[in-house]
Symmetry: C2
Subunit: 439 residues, 2 copies
């Protein structure tokens, strides 16, 4: 029977640490053997590293295995279309997804029926831990196509017994209408879009902080603490963070009601935090490294030591007040991939928002335009001002340019303040940057 | 065990006619009693007609029951938000959908877990009858949000054991890339978008008639025979039609491999064809009337004698070569709702396509702009010409204006021929008309 008290799957969520360790080790050793025996991709990786599965005798031996990077998956799928040389059981595939892919073509990902079923349980645990219950209305406000965050989350919500409202991405007025009409208590949404939704509501004369929404499941992009605070205030609700990449099987970690880090999921993934310099695992709390995952369940397309390029750290190994036993990691606020070069400097688009959010005159909705003008890179930022705000001539603009320069370490060439509703809402991930530079 | 030979659910699909009739009658009498006893909406309808469920003793007595129209549902939901006075079990709702709604706000529709499960079986029967099988790749190229044609069809395909590819609406290049990469055999798509997809392929230098696609499940808009022929040729595949409205529980009828009309689904819906003048049922084949449906399974939000505004007729009551026993109706080529007033004349947007499709120089992609100019209605039609076609000065334009005038009975004020790719593809239903007239 699933769904007891605070837990969807109490047996695994509260598994005694030693038992969890044994279960994880057993699955880990089995998946390593399988990946080597069944896929040319891992066979070659192991051979090149001069190891065989016989060298992997415990979880600690994971360090001997080379990392798998996103580009490895792309090349693997180019060599052997469509699922790649890392696919062991193409005929078993029952659901095909693809990552959004910021550059080039996306990578494909398939899971079998058994794996999809296990995955659903993991998603259900995460939704349940953030308060979704039987008969609750689950408003799904993120993209439904292509990525597991759509279909899979709707199915998992149904497994819990919730009433699904498959609204999808876009059409903000429709979302607001549905919320006012159906009074959902739970919403799954991009953090930046949650902020936009609230602002749009205010523009329409609706106080979204008085809406029916009580839980906000933040999805598919980083949610820094100040953005979360703003969403919680504007929507009058509690936010829950999680971490996950489609390639591995999102989520890989999720927040509980204690809001004290993200619980890893030992029966689903082996979680490592790796020092990016030495490539050695970090075992102590508080020291930042890169998240690396091995999925322990998916045999159809094994994912062994996937290098996420996302920095995080162990938060604590202590028991959580919620009763879940798994260790916790820190929320992931950025992706190394998000970093782009602008005027020769590393530029993290999220830093722009971090500045803009401090200005009460702005809605937070913005766009970053990278252009080429007379052979030089030109950085133009457009930001929406709130309704009825008339910025005094130049004052706000100049203040913003100055604050942005000191935060970004580069000069903003042009700062535009535009009326609310001018900029298309960032209804999808990674839409804040419009790169018009010649490549 | 589901999925035997040609049938997903042989027991009901090949049910002996007399048994089907008895099952239908039993469910019909039960749903009528239920709707009256449990909802103020039907109680009032019955009371106003001076009848009670005791007056309904057989399926033939259905004629005593008043029709339910789309506007009745809207008013019902305004009176008692959100699900309306026709909702018997709001707390049981497990999936909420809403119709696209061409005018005003959409109507909401909810089903219970049991009903959703039955519905899935009906959808699976329809997909199976058009050739979807275990391990086949099911490319879903229609909208995934809001309407049951999305989530429900993905789930039904999984019930069959197919590999789902949840591509959703939009992003034509992505569809073409996925088709070339994953080689799906089965696609679910809007007829107009299927045509656009093929044209887009040709523009990109890809012969879509040589693609992996073998079955095309036409969805969510009417597919006249000449459009079907064009799609079959351009995609090198067989098309299958079906009929369904979300409010009742689509599909309500579907085509089998015999391609000889659409089988009704006696255990799911009571199908009537009603003379729009006399409001009497038509029992003979070949005479056109309006489709009226009573869903026989859905008790959460009963739908009794729903007036679809779609014209059709009985095609035959004879046994089908496929082995299915249910009578068949003719395909539905238009919706009465599609009819709009232009310059005081009834105008059916589909008629424009019927003219354009005869011109080899055109891609078929078009837009109909209704504007107000100097206080008068102005009809502008833009159509894409094929790549490398240079229409001789004015000749094609004038020919089109003349043909359209005689087909539509109104003057086209301006005919624009634009290069391929200029017009946004009709990735959603009912996007061909852009009504810019002042209301």
């Amino acid at each position: 029977m699933k769904g007891q008290g605070r837990f969807w799957n109490k047996e695994v969520e509260c598994l005694e640490l030693e038992k969890a360790r044994r279960l994880q080790e057993e699955r880990f050793l089995s998946i390593v053997k399988w990946a080597y025996a069944k896929t040319p991709f891992y066979k070659r990786k192991f051979d090149e590293a001069g190891i065989t599965p016989d060298d992997i005798r415990s979880v600690n031996d994971v360090v001997k295995i080379p990392f798998t990077k996103k580009d490895d998956l792309r090349i693997s799928q180019e060599n052997q279309p469509p699922y790649g040389e890392h696919c062991a059981l193409p005929a078993e595939i029952f659901q095909t997804y693809w990552s959004t892919g910021t550059t080039g073509f996306p990578t494909l990902m398939g899971v079998s029926k058994t794996e999809a079923d296990y995955w659903l349980d993991v998603v259900a645990r995460s939704l349940y831990s953030t308060g979704l219950r039987k008969q609750a209305k689950f408003h799904h406000a993120t993209q439904l196509s292509s990525f597991p965050g759509g279909y899979l989350f709707l199915s998992a919500a149904q497994r819990i017994g919730a009433n699904i409202i498959p609204a999808g991405a876009g059409n903000t007025e429709r979302h607001i209408w549905l919320i006012s009409k159906l009074k959902p208590t739970f919403i799954k949404i991009l953090p930046s879009y949650a902020n936009y939704l609230a602002e749009k509501g205010y523009d329409m004369g609706i106080d979204m902080s008085a809406s029916s929404i009580k839980q906000v499941y933040l999805s598919a992009e980083p949610a820094p603490p100040d953005l979360r605070t703003m969403i919680e205030k504007k929507l009058g609700a509690v936010t829950y963070d999680n971490y996950g990449l489609s390639d591995i099987g999102q989520p890989e970690a999720y927040e509980c009601e204690a809001h004290d880090g993200l619980h890893v999921i030992p029966d689903w993934c082996l979680t490592e935090i790796i020092d990016p310099e030495t490539k050695e695992p970090i075992h102590e709390a508080g020291r930042e490294g890169v998240l690396v995952y091995t999925n322990l369940v998916r045999k159809t397309m094994p994912m062994v030591r996937f290098w996420t390029a996302n920095p995080s750290c162990w938060k604590t190994f202590d028991p959580c007040t919620c009763g879940r036993t798994a260790p916790r990691i820190m929320s992931v606020y950025r992706r190394v991939d998000d970093m782009i070069k602008v005027k020769g400097v590393n530029f993290w688009p999220g830093a722009v928002w971090s500045v803009l959010k401090d200005y009460a005159q702005l809605t937070g909705v913005h766009r970053i335009f990278l252009e080429s003008r007379e052979g030089k890179e030109y950085l133009r930022i457009a930001a929406e001002i709130k309704k009825d705000v008339i910025p005094e001539a130049g004052g706000l603009k100049n203040a913003l340019i100055e604050r942005l320069r000191s935060a970004l370490f580069i000069q903003v060439d042009e700062m535009e303040l535009v009326p609310p509703g001018t900029l298309q809402a960032a209804e999808h991930k990674d839409k804040a940057v419009v790169d018009l530079r010649k490549k």
